[in-house]
């Protein structure tokens, strides 16, 4: 089934596997959307790389903005020694634990709030207030509650994920088409069957959207959490490098975050495509 997600990641996969250009001329070459994407992405990265190299060599102070070749030179031993891998693993485990528990709680409570009007009306004002407390704002109290070990990081990521997934899930449950529920009732479905077999699956596109946003937010919250209260992880690497004025290492850490976020989002989309594709259709027009 073709869905918004399917199309996007489908073309991304194609783009990676595309062989050499077909032999009939420049126009046919640029007309293939997959090749065009690869070409433009490569061009974009190359232009960025060269501009950065030139600017930091001739315009800016190379100590403040180290040129990309220097950054690469710093990165290679860090990669070879496993230093980056170990920090990445630590940060990723924190994100995954917090994100998984937060999503699970968000979906379960979101589904309940979407269905039980009284519960929603009772809890909504509190949620509306609490959701403005970003994970970063919660770092100081999380450290007092849970220390600087893993638990405080799990809590902070959970906190950030929970509200985003909760609000999206509730909205999705609410927007399950009335006609779909009534049609199921006519066929003979019980209230419980309508809820489990019709309403919740109808909410899946909203839940997945919420989870994707929450995943991005988790990546943004783990860094300050590790900068302020940790002794491992990418955020800690950033903070230590800053204390020692090692701008090269700071840039290695920053690039790691960019690449990691990109890869995780692609994996997320791929999983959604494989597992949930049939639920991802927003189509309802006749």
């Amino acid at each position: 089934m073709s869905t918004a997600y399917g199309r996007q990641s489908g073309s991304a996969v194609e783009a990676g596997d595309t062989p050499a250009p077909p032999p009939h001329g420049w126009h046919a070459w640029i007309a293939s959307p997959a090749i065009r994407t690869v070409a433009l992405t490569t061009a974009s990265l190359l232009i960025g790389f060269c501009t950065w190299q030139l600017l930091s060599t001739f315009v800016f102070n190379p100590f403040l903005i180290p040129p990309p070749l220097d950054v690469l030179r710093t990165a290679i031993p860090m990669l070879a020694s496993g230093e980056i891998a170990s920090d990445v693993t630590i940060s990723m485990v924190r994100v995954l634990v917090g994100f998984t528990t937060g999503s699970l709680a968000g979906v379960i409570i979101g589904v309940l709030l979407g269905r039980v009007r009284l519960l929603h009306d009772l809890l909504d004002p509190i949620i509306e207030l609490l959701r403005y407390l970003s994970p970063t704002a919660m770092i100081p109290i999380a450290v007092i509650w849970f220390g600087i070990g893993e638990l405080s990081k799990y809590f902070l990521i959970f906190w950030g994920t929970f509200f985003i997934v909760l609000i999206n899930t509730t909205a999705g449950v609410w927007r399950a088409p009335v006609a779909r529920q009534r049609a199921a009732a006519c066929l003979g479905a019980t209230q419980l069957q309508i809820f489990v077999l019709v309403v919740v699956p109808s909410a899946v596109p909203y839940i997945v959207t919420g989870m994707r946003v929450a995943m991005a937010s988790s990546f943004m919250s783990i860094i300050p959490a590790e900068i302020l209260a940790a002794n491992s992880g990418i955020g800690y690497l950033l903070q230590q490098s800053s204390l020692l004025l090692q701008t090269n290492r700071i840039f290695v850490a920053l690039l790691t975050i960019c690449v990691l976020g990109f890869i995780v989002d692609r994996i997320f989309r791929l999983v959604v495509d494989k597992v949930l594709a049939r639920y991802m259709s927003f189509v309802s027009q006749t």
Partner: protein
């Protein structure tokens, strides 16, 4: 037999009450094809929702057989205009039909036979593996019809099911529906605002007045053989007659909208 007696329906809201139906009475015999015809806002869909059991009446009564209608019941199935939202988009054509059989607790051994029969009846057997998003509007509507028929209700309640289809597809769907109806002999209550549609389908046409306080102003019996050709003189005369009946209402509706 479906019996609507002196039904009144009031919608309450903070801005005040709206009397949608005010004393509607109608009897539909078993196996009969009745069209509820009227302009938008005449309460015909409200009446259909009451028959389906989605909305309670504010006064009067609706009964099926001897029993009062108090909620959705397995003997009455509603068909919605927007088939895309009534179907389950994550299930294939075949799975959508099986969904009805499953919730109705029909023994699993019979599923394959029933699915085949009704998919064939609506001409979708070649598309059983497709998803609703991959079907045209007319095919989705046929799937909705097959899914409803597969649970073998006594009454089909149809809420402008073909209104969103293009003219050619709509005519084809009329033929499909009439063929099925003549074959299985179920009761049909069909809501439409299209005079030609009502004439080509119905045993009886209940013409409704514009709200508030809609009533059935007249029941017309087009006692003509099917298929009914609009070019036929008798059919054309009937069309004109119904048009004349609806026009004063439409003018009043226009005036009221302009006054607002």
């Amino acid at each position: 037999m479906l019996r609507v007696t002196n039904v009144r329906k009031v919608f309450e809201s903070v801005r005040g009450n709206y009397v949608a139906l005010d004393g509607v009475s109608l009897t539909v015999k078993d196996g009969e094809f009745v069209c509820l015809l009227g302009p938008s806002g005449c309460g015909k869909s409200t009446l259909l929702n009451i028959l389906a059991g989605f909305e309670p009446v504010s006064g009067g009564s609706v009964t099926f057989g001897e029993a009062p209608i108090t909620g959705p019941g397995r003997e009455r199935v509603m068909f919605f205009q927007d088939a895309g939202s009534a179907l389950l988009p994550w299930l294939s054509v075949e799975e959508n039909i099986r969904f009805g059989l499953r919730v109705r607790k029909i023994p699993k051994a019979e599923w394959a036979g029933i699915t085949d029969r009704y998919l064939e009846m609506v001409g979708l057997d070649a598309h059983r593996g497709k998803f609703p998003a991959e079907l045209s509007g007319g095919m989705r509507q046929r799937l909705q019809i097959a899914r409803g028929l597969a649970v073998e209700p006594n009454v089909l309640l149809m809420d402008e099911p073909f209104a969103a289809l293009d003219a050619l597809t709509r005519r084809r769907m009329h033929k499909v529906l009439l063929d099925i109806w003549q074959r299985i002999g179920k009761t049909v209550v069909f809501v439409t605002h299209d005079i030609a549609e009502a004439i080509s389908l119905a045993d009886r046409i209940a013409v409704m007045s514009v709200g508030p306080g809609s009533v059935i102003t007249r029941v017309i019996e087009p006692d003509l053989p099917r298929p009914r050709d609009l070019a036929d003189a008798k059919v054309a005369r009937l069309f004109g007659e119904i048009e004349d009946l609806l026009t004063p209402d439409l003018i009043r509706l226009d005036e009221r909208l302009e006054a607002h």
